[in-house]
């Protein structure tokens, strides 16, 4: 007989009852995106690790208030992002987002996506520089929604704002990016 993987809702219920192994599974499932989000918002790998770990500890302790049936990931990201924002570095001291070396690909991503193939490295660097020049709130919205590929709901949770605010920030940020990129052509 083969054990089937537990559904997340079942893991949450077990964790609510004090099952730390269930929580460990949840941490391992979401730690990647939690760390990346914390890194993008805090601007430091060390702060991101600390923020993500604190976030998972606090989330476990707050499980009693997690609404049953609600998606877990936005809730976790909200807690972790809140920790990350508290550790946020000034723009001048923040690690700049950077491109991977041209020949490198992520594990399991041997073939660049068709979208990635469309972009030359030069235009990627130009776009990244334009993103980094946005105001903090526009940059964060763009980074979370597009670069980290969070859903709109997750972006709102990570930024601690309503979905409508995410939409308006993204709209203004895209407009600004278009202006900047057209000006550089």
């Amino acid at each position: 007989m083969v054990d089937r993987p537990l559904e997340e809702t079942e893991l949450v219920e077990r964790a609510r009852r004090g099952d730390l192994r269930a929580w460990e599974t949840i941490v391992r499932t979401h730690q990647g995106i939690a760390f990346r989000t914390a890194y993008a918002l805090s601007g430091s790998a060390a702060d991101a690790e600390e923020a993500a770990q604190d976030g998972f500890v606090k989330a476990y302790r707050a499980l009693g208030r997690f609404r049953r049936g609600a998606p877990l990931r936005p809730w976790l990201l909200q807690i972790v992002a809140n920790e990350a924002r508290n550790r946020r570095r000034s723009a001048a001291r923040r690690d700049r987002l950077a491109l991977r070396a041209a020949a490198e690909h992520r594990p399991g991503d041997a073939v660049p996506s068709p979208e990635a193939a469309l972009l030359s490295r030069e235009s990627q660097e130009q776009l990244l520089a334009a993103v980094e020049r946005l105001s903090d709130e526009h940059r964060d919205a763009v980074v979370c929604r597009y670069l980290l590929d969070l859903s709109e709901e997750e972006t709102a949770a990570a930024l601690g704002v309503r979905r409508g605010t995410v939409k308006s920030r993204l709209s203004r940020a895209l407009e600004r990016l278009r202006e900047v990129l057209e000006g550089e052509l």
């Binding site: 730390l20 939690a34 606090k58 924002r85 508290n86 001291r93 990627q124 670069l147």
Partner: protein, 238 residues
Amino acid sequence: MSALELRLRALGQSLELPSEPDLAPGVLERLEDGRRPFPWRRGLALALALVALAVGAAFAVPQARSAILRFFHLGGATVIRVETLPPAVERPRAGGLGRPLSLPAAERQVGFRLLLPPFKGREPGRVYVLGDSLATVIVRAHGRTVLLSEFPSFGAQGLKKLAVGKTVIEPVRVDAADGLWLEGGSHTLTYFDRSFGFREQTILIHGNVLLWVRGDLTLRLEGKLTKAQAIDLARRVR
């Protein structure tokens, strides 16, 4: 999705991000530690030892102060020195403190007996309760209005943090209890708001703050008192 949005998505796939740490061992260790009987006694002793050590070292080498004084735990409070303060709102004196309740109702709500300074005449008519763990009363002392807040030192409900920029942090004693004195500069107080699920609210504070632990409670005085005045008031809180 527009071409620009597609380009941004593709850009995300090309980012060089730091390698992702395995967080699970650290998370589990902290959670398991919290289950042991009286883990806070050991944690507190360790934290205070570190505070004393760090503060001593920092004050001996002033230029190293910002590098060393970064992270303190005291009871249910965490003091973090950060480069820039997070977005925060100014708090009106009694605004944002929570629901005003009578003293008995507040004690029922928070589940512990409030420690108070001796009052001339009647006890305070109002206690402000945030969620069901943070209680605040407004006290007059040394001609000033001061906020006295109390919350359980440990457990999820007592979560509380302070983020500090240029503020001086100094360990102090309140009778036999250990405490932290935060003076000068602006700093922020972030507290846990249970009524909205897991959401923290951050407010901007300009006054001085004394934090100390008594029994299972962490107490906090906020106002424009001197250190001596704050410690004097804290000693009378019973």
